[in-house]
């Protein structure tokens, strides 16, 4: 019996590495004043069919019930934004603006197996709702940059590639003409974004062919893509980030368009500088989504990003400083601080009472469940990564307290032990 393809077991060491990522995500988001929310793992299928757009719908996992095969179908969430938009549309009036919310959901996509892609993964989601100012875009990009910096990644390791659908929209309106003479539609615009999204990876011939219906060609698109001049929309965001000392982490790159249908303005993706990995994170503005989700009842500017754990974990493993910081964290996380050695088995009841008291004082404590030789108990303490061993034996009601790394030993009376262990 194994896991299904693309799903993971988290044995203790894997689980600690996962928790390092989730804990760090949470810590940085909270430093930025974001507050955590979450939603259900299973949503109605209709939520995604209507809102996600693009390739995500084809990657959905569906959910049914053994007991109720005819029931309305559910889906495992492939991303968090539709859930967020649904929640905010339902209770928007209860929250002061701007709303700064984050979440660390597990998400599910039925994708082809490849490096950096799993079918169940964790994704940090950070969103600001109710603020149209570019200061919100800068705040969002700053928390993104500092999240990656918290893993000991630097501007030599990653870069935020900043772009704008508004810029591409203006390009499209100014330059496109449908071959059949009809007016350009929102669908045309989204189709154009998808062609631009693929242009760097496609041949110019293929891009030419796709663009022909709009009277455009690959050369025009690629030329605009390579211009690095910030638009009037992007300039204040860059100035804000520079004031924070984060300018070196961001570059204008109009090659970024993003796949999902709901983005409206600024968009960005984060890549490793070597560009050997998939995107570390991506996001942007989705000012129209809340109105769409609420049938026009709630209309609010919004923006956010998602960062998955899989590419990030690869990047940490491949970056020496980041890996060293992870290893130091893992060493601190060992499961045992104090090991109580029972050298005289008849003192077990006294040992149990001491173990209880130490745990109540907040120490991580372990001890032998059954009678064992003292040498084996010390071996056990070492295996568990304990810092100190407390020996209950001949000296009782005093105890030897041994620091395992230095082998230093002191004798402490029972009534002073808990306070002296600090």
């Amino acid at each position: 019996m194994q896991t299904l393809p693309g799903f993971r077991d988290f044995f203790p060491d894997d689980c600690a590495r996962r928790n390092y990522i989730l804990d760090t995500w949470r810590a940085v988001a909270r430093r930025y004043g974001f507050t955590e929310y979450d939603g259900p793992v299973v949503e109605s299928l209709a939520l995604y069919e209507k809102k996600s757009g693009g390739e995500l719908v084809g990657q959905l996992f569906t959910v049914g019930a053994v007991a109720d095969p005819g029931a309305a179908k559910g889906a495992l969430r492939p991303e968090m934004t539709p859930t967020l938009a649904r929640m905010v549309a339902a209770r928007e009036r209860d929250f002061k603006k701007p709303m700064k919310w984050f979440s660390v959901p597990s998400c599910f996509r039925h994708e082809r197996q490849q490096r950096g892609r799993l079918r169940e993964f964790y994704q940090l989601n950070v969103d600001i709702l109710g603020e149209a100012s570019p200061a919100a875009d800068a705040e969002l990009i700053a928390v993104l940059v500092d999240t990656l910096r918290a893993f000991a990644l630097t501007e030599r390791d990653f870069v935020v590639r900043l772009s704008s659908r508004t810029a591409w929209q203006q390009f499209f309106i100014q330059n496109a003409k449908r071959a059949d003479g009809a007016a350009l539609t929102a669908e045309d615009e989204y189709e154009f974004f998808q062609i631009v999204d693929k242009a760097e990876r496609s041949s110019p011939e293929k891009t030419d062919a796709a663009l022909a219906k709009f009277g455009l060609n690959a050369a025009q698109v690629l030329a605009f893509m390579r211009s690095k001049e910030p638009t009037a929309e992007l300039a204040p965001i860059l100035a804000d980030l520079a004031a924070r000392g984060l300018g070196a982490f961001v570059e204008v790159d109009y090659a970024i368009v993003r796949g999902l249908a709901y983005y409206t303005g600024v968009v960005f993706e984060v890549f490793d500088r070597a560009k050997t990995e998939r995107a570390l994170a991506g996001g942007g503005r989705y000012d129209g989504l809340l109105a769409l989700m609420s049938d026009g009842k709630v209309n609010m500017p919004a923006l956010g990003f998602g960062m998955g754990d899989v590419v990030l974990a690869n990047m940490i493993a491949d970056t020496p400083a980041a890996k060293a910081q992870l290893e130091a964290w893992l060493a601190r996380e060992r499961s045992c601080e104090v090991y109580v050695v029972i050298a005289k088995e008849e003192l077990r009841p006294q040992a149990l009472a001491l173990v209880q008291e130490l745990r109540e004082a907040g120490h991580r404590v372990d001890f032998p469940l059954t009678s064992a030789k003292v040498g084996k108990q010390f071996q056990n303490a070492e295996n568990l990564g304990a810092r100190r061993a407390v020996v209950i034996g001949e000296e009782w009601p005093q105890m030897k307290v041994k620091t395992l790394a230095t082998r230093e030993e002191v004798l402490i009376a029972r009534e002073n032990l808990v306070s002296q262990l600090g």
Copy 2:
């Protein structure tokens, strides 16, 4: 658009209450030297069809894929033990015994809607593997008791009802005779356990009818159920718990049998003293499950318990001391510690640099994204629960630092601010 029935949104306040439970679960398990693991949310359907038994299989959610309707079916995990057994069977040799493992998975059951039951819930799972001694049963029950005590629940609020399938097995072997004269089978035994499990809730007539095929009656079963005498198996567990000072939290109660097929020895459930709620937790020994999961390759004693978040949250809400502790925790968890007031908009770049520095020093910091009146900014700071406001204005490069609760104000120079804010 709403959640599907039995699924929850966690708006920020709900999410903080959830995190209080998950964080406390983790902290206590770690104090006891347990190490965290996790598995996939989706497992193969076959894992549960073969191992869980009882009503759980009928409550499974199935998982398919839009893109691959013919693919092997998955299921959302309804409980964690089959995943744990699968993982341990696969890599048993990599871990020293006893293994003390815990997990806080979300689990999924397609149950009828009722108080204390949801279709997606969190469940603390704590297990000890590779130790047959009753000291392991006592260690497990101790961590269960201290988990509930960590929520400020006391022996007046809950009790662990301790029982044993071994005791019921002996009762069955000694007293049962099949009406058709055939030998008693393992299936008979499990059927008997299920009758005993329902005996307190059923009428004696119904129990009599169910027991008739084994030559037993309700009076016999109920008499044994009401005896409080610990068996030789339970006595050392009770002595161990008494040595820890936890004796008052446990009572022998043979009415507890547990529904799942895989339990073999000691079993227990935790109830509120008033018995107005469903069980808070339940568990026991499942010494045969690892052999079953590994086709006999791994044979190891094991025991564990599960504790759901839904009944626990109800109990915390209904117990004044537990509720007060939760509220105090929520107050400390507010999203903002320091609010930077920008009293002169032209100093925004300097404010951004300061915000950055404070966050890098580990403070939870917020500030106005757009220009706003100073009074409104202070209002904002209060709304976010900030402790202090730092005012960037006329005094620059000095700043007024105001403690919001006391309205005390001090003037601090820019270069000293981060260190003096502590």
